[in-house]
């Protein structure tokens, strides 16, 4: 899978960034993190309002919330529907309510409900993707900010390591590692996180390298703040929106990577079930029961498209120089979709 469509270093904040968090102190008090709770609350509220103005982004957010809710509460609701075998109800075609709602998406060759299995698979898929994205985000960002702030040898070595990981196909890395260690949930999360750390590392490094030469960082340094304090108080708050946007996009990538691994038989192992594994299991019944492969794949596609659209919107919404675009009155329906699409692929 190609590195998803983004240029890690390309996204630089223009000079109009909010320097607010740090430029304030003119007296000899050490700089205090400026955004108070009130400010943050306002900001969140306005971000939420902005979201509601964009119907595609709203829809995308709703889809993701729905997937999240299914992952958390779904397994409770479906109970044993996913594992109950019923050979009399084997290979039921979808979109028929004869056997009740449980079989609305059909059933597999053992008569297990497709809907039930999809719900269970949602939890597995999310419980791989979220931790993997989280681990990569935290490690990659902190490392990148640190490397970019200190420059010099630390930066060079960090970037070399990132280059090495990036220049090797992530799937091959995963293939070898998951062969040597057994493909447990933890190992899959770990290998996915490690292969994605360089993305955050590169972005965070580029942003922090640019920030560390700004006046407000200089000021903080002059007042004697320690590097860790400067990084924590002045650099990270500014870099964070970019990194969170990146993480939304990375969520797609990690999900696709996990499904590829599961599809190839080296990811999630039966009797656990993930969307990728379901596609793979349904493949041999493609001639007789197409829904076994098509529906789980559709679940992947819908979730990734939603995350992509939301990431494109977030990128514009968290960038003060571009945010005005979202508050423009809408001209034509297709337009907004067009910008979101382009944003997603830049």
């Amino acid at each position: 899978m190609a590195t998803p469509l983004l240029q890690p270093e390309g996204h630089q904040h223009p000079e109009t960034d909010p320097p607010a968090p740090a430029t304030a102190p003119a007296a000899d008090v050490p700089p205090v993190p400026a955004p108070t709770a009130q400010d943050l609350g306002d900001k969140k509220l306005s971000l939420f309002r902005l979201l509601l103005r964009d119907k595609f982004a709203t829809l995308a957010a709703l889809v993701l919330v729905f997937v999240g809710l299914v992952a958390v509460f779904g397994p409770m609701l479906v109970g044993d529907l996913a594992t109950r075998q019923d050979l009399l109800a084997a290979n039921k075609p979808p979109f028929s309510l004869e056997d009740g709602w449980g079989y609305v998406l059909g059933s597999d060759s053992l008569g297990r409900s497709m809907l039930g299995r999809l719900v269970i698979a949602t939890r597995t898929t999310i419980s791989v993707a979220l931790p993997a994205v989280g681990i990569a985000l935290v490690i990659g960002s902190l490392w990148g900010v640190w490397a970019g702030y200190h420059r010099g040898l630390r930066e060079t070595i960090s970037m070399r390591i990132a280059d090495v990981i990036m220049s090797f196909p992530s799937l091959l890395l995963a293939v070898v590692v998951l062969y040597v260690f057994n493909p447990s949930l933890g190992n899959i999360i770990l290998i996915l996180a490690i292969t994605r750390i360089p993305i955050y590392l590169r972005t965070a490094r580029a942003e922090s390298a640019e920030l560390q030469s700004r006046t407000f960082v200089d000021a903080a340094r002059t007042f004697g703040s320690r590097p860790t304090a400067i990084i924590g108080r002045h650099v990270i708050p500014i870099v964070l929106p970019t990194l969170l946007t990146l993480a939304t996009l990375e969520f797609c990538y990690v999900m696709l990577a996990e499904s590829s691994l599961s599809f190839l038989g080296i990811g999630i192992q039966s009797p656990d079930v993930s969307w990728g594994l379901m596609v793979s299991q349904g493949r041999q019944y493609l001639q007789t029961a197409w829904w076994l492969s098509i529906f789980p794949g559709l679940a992947i596609v819908i979730t990734t498209i939603a995350a992509n659209i939301l990431a494109a919107w977030l990128r514009i919404a968290t960038d003060p120089a571009q945010r005005w675009r979202l508050s423009l009155p809408r001209t034509r329906g297709g337009r907004r979709f067009g910008t979101a699409l382009k944003g997603a692929t830049k």
Partner: protein, 308 residues
């Protein structure tokens, strides 16, 4: 030029070395290698024999020297399944993957340049919309699923194309279409972006004012300058293409190196897996050098700046 190339070779050699060392470390430092190379139901006697024959009871440094010697001679041991040298199997599978990947890349690049230029000339036109849509699809649709949908529609329902195999030209259509989605989706956006910025340069205005036609401006003036950024991405894309090839080859029964890898994993044939992974790494290394070379030839500005 030579200085530039030497620099690039050294910096792309580093990942290769890391992979070679990494595979050794994974194979030797995680428990008993005999259990990696031998089938799961091997007896203790078999394990002991294997350990002695492969020199696994030697000190680690001796093993490491042996291993590096083997890598340099492309000797990775023998396959458990067939008893053939693993390197021979990997090298036999390699051309199939190369053919598939090269064809895909050529078609993807040509298509991306055509559609990308068209999209840059007419913003919000049909080509622009197509390229946006494909890019979105490339970032969202899993390639294995796309392949399966392709098989379902074109092979099973319509019966136009074969489901797998390498016989005849039709067998190439689905694998290439699947594999092409991602490189095309990325490249078309890059070509479009580079063309939009190239078309606003003064030299384009000059060419236009001298009465050059649209086609000539695009093909002779803008495209040449827009090609360099597209080429830099080509390296990343080919690395990604390997990932795609593993999936596509497995689904379509393409006898390439990706299928060999997955087969050797499922049958626990570590020697072959190791050979396939390392030969792929070497191929990527060579390819990166070629791309750097092409980049230097294409963009005259690169040479002096790198030298300085």
């Amino acid at each position: 030029m030579l200085v530039y190339l030497r620099k690039r070779i050294i910096s792309s050699l580093l990942p290769l070395v890391v992979v070679v060392v990494g595979v050794f470390a994974l194979a030797r430092l995680t428990g008993n290698p005999a259990s990696l190379y031998l089938p799961l139901n091997a007896t203790d006697q078999m394990r002991a024999d294997f350990t002695a024959r492969q020199g696994l009871d030697q000190p680690l440094l001796v093993q490491m020297a042996d291993y590096f010697g083997g890598v340099l001679r492309l000797d990775f041991g023998e396959s458990l399944r067939t008893g053939e040298p693993a390197a021979a199997m990997a090298l036999r599978a390699f051309p199939a993957t190369l053919q598939l990947a090269a064809t895909t890349m050529v078609i993807a690049i040509v298509a991306a340049v055509l559609v990308g230029c068209w999209a840059a000339l007419k913003p919000n036109g049909i080509a622009d919309r197509i390229s946006s849509f494909v890019s979105m699809a490339a970032a969202s649709i899993p390639d294995f699923w796309l392949a399966i949908v392709g098989i379902w529609i074109f092979a099973i329902t319509l019966g136009w194309l074969p489901t797998s195999g390498v016989s005849g030209g039709e067998a190439w259509i689905l694998p290439i279409a699947t594999l092409m989605l991602r490189p095309f989706g990325v490249l078309v956006q890059i070509v479009r972006g580079a063309m939009v910025s190239a078309l606003s340069e003064p030299y384009i205005k000059l060419a236009r004012s001298k009465g050059a036609s649209d086609a000539r401006v695009v093909s002779h003036h803008a495209l040449r300058n827009a090609a360099a950024p597209a080429l830099t991405v080509a390296g990343d894309l080919t690395v990604g293409l390997v990932n795609g090839a593993v999936v596509v080859e497995t689904i379509f029964g393409w006898p390439g190196i990706g299928k060999l890898m997955i087969d050797s994993i499922l049958q626990r044939d570590f020697a072959v897996l190791q050979a396939a992974v390392l030969i792929t790494a070497i191929a990527i290394f060579v390819l990166n050098i070629l791309i750097d070379l092409g980049y230097a030839l294409l963009d005259a500005r690169v040479r002096p700046t790198v030298k300085a």
